[in-house]
Symmetry: C2
Subunit: 134 residues, 2 copies
DNA sequence: ATTAAATGATACTAAATTTGTATCATTATA
DNA sequence: TATAATGATACAAATTTAGTATCATTTAAT
């Protein structure tokens, strides 16, 4: 079990670099040099972050990306919701079948509760705090 | 992201059934009927739970499994440690390579902290509490 | 003794998810 | 007009999770 996937790890590295240099537009080419993230994967990730409104993108020669929000307003939770949450944080393991152990679903309640707790913590971690290392 | 894998879900269902009928030895055949868990998978899981000391096993005809501990002394954390923890809860995403963003590893610290929190919660959920539905 | 019904150990396979690649279209600047 | 960027999207590889199969050993009843 990993709390976050690689998408999110890479997103943070990229966002952190962009945030530190936010006067310029930062191209994928630059980011690849700086972060060693595989290029096409990084491109896909940045495109997603653009669509989701975290980054502003500029096409054409000398194009690139800028933050679309303050690093104080970007949270790990945002990334989690973009990249992981769609896969249902804690769906019942018996997909469309009827769970034969309905009674035991207190477990689901408990896990949901823990899931919410994790998300609350993710909601406390801002990009700014990561950049500052606090 | 799933907080627990199917191994663990199945383990709980099986353990709960065994706990409720702990005067008898319960065979895999019986458990499959009751829980609809795929037989060979369940067998593998129970063998593991045996090795790990949660279950006592009886070979031979009319053999089966019994709890080796009180349901009050079996926690979700035990199952987590048996089935998931070995895969490194929160290992750095750059495996053997040097992480090019050392500074950003405050992130790892934060995630580790959340991981510990999750485990603490797992440590509060006993088999007994699941059976009772509280 | 023999048979039936169970677990032990362990190797193998399939499915799902995660990670990463490739390509073609469009856009902006020099 | 050439170049260097992003947008969209389909595809492929690697890893992890889930599930199967098989052979050996044990136990109880007949």
């Amino acid at each position: 079990m990993k709390l976050i996937t690689r998408d999110i790890d890479y997103s943070i590295r990229a966002l952190a670099y962009i945030a530190k240099n936010n006067s310029d537009k930062i191209s994928v080419t630059k980011l690849v040099k700086e972060t060693k993230i595989p290029r096409p994967f990084l491109r896909k990730i940045l495109q997603t972050l653009g669509r989701e409104g975290l980054l502003e993108s500029f096409k054409g020669k000398f194009g690139g990306f800028k933050l679309n929000k303050s690093p104080n307003d970007i949270y790990l939770l945002d990334l989690f919701e973009i990249f992981q949450d769609k896969f249902d944080f804690n769906k019942c393991i018996f997909k469309k079948k009827i769970c034969p152990n309905t009674k035991d679903c207190v477990l689901k309640e408990k896990l949901d509760h823990i899931g919410e707790m994790v998300k609350r913590e993710f909601g406390k971690i801002s990009l700014q705090s990561i950049i500052e290392g606090r």
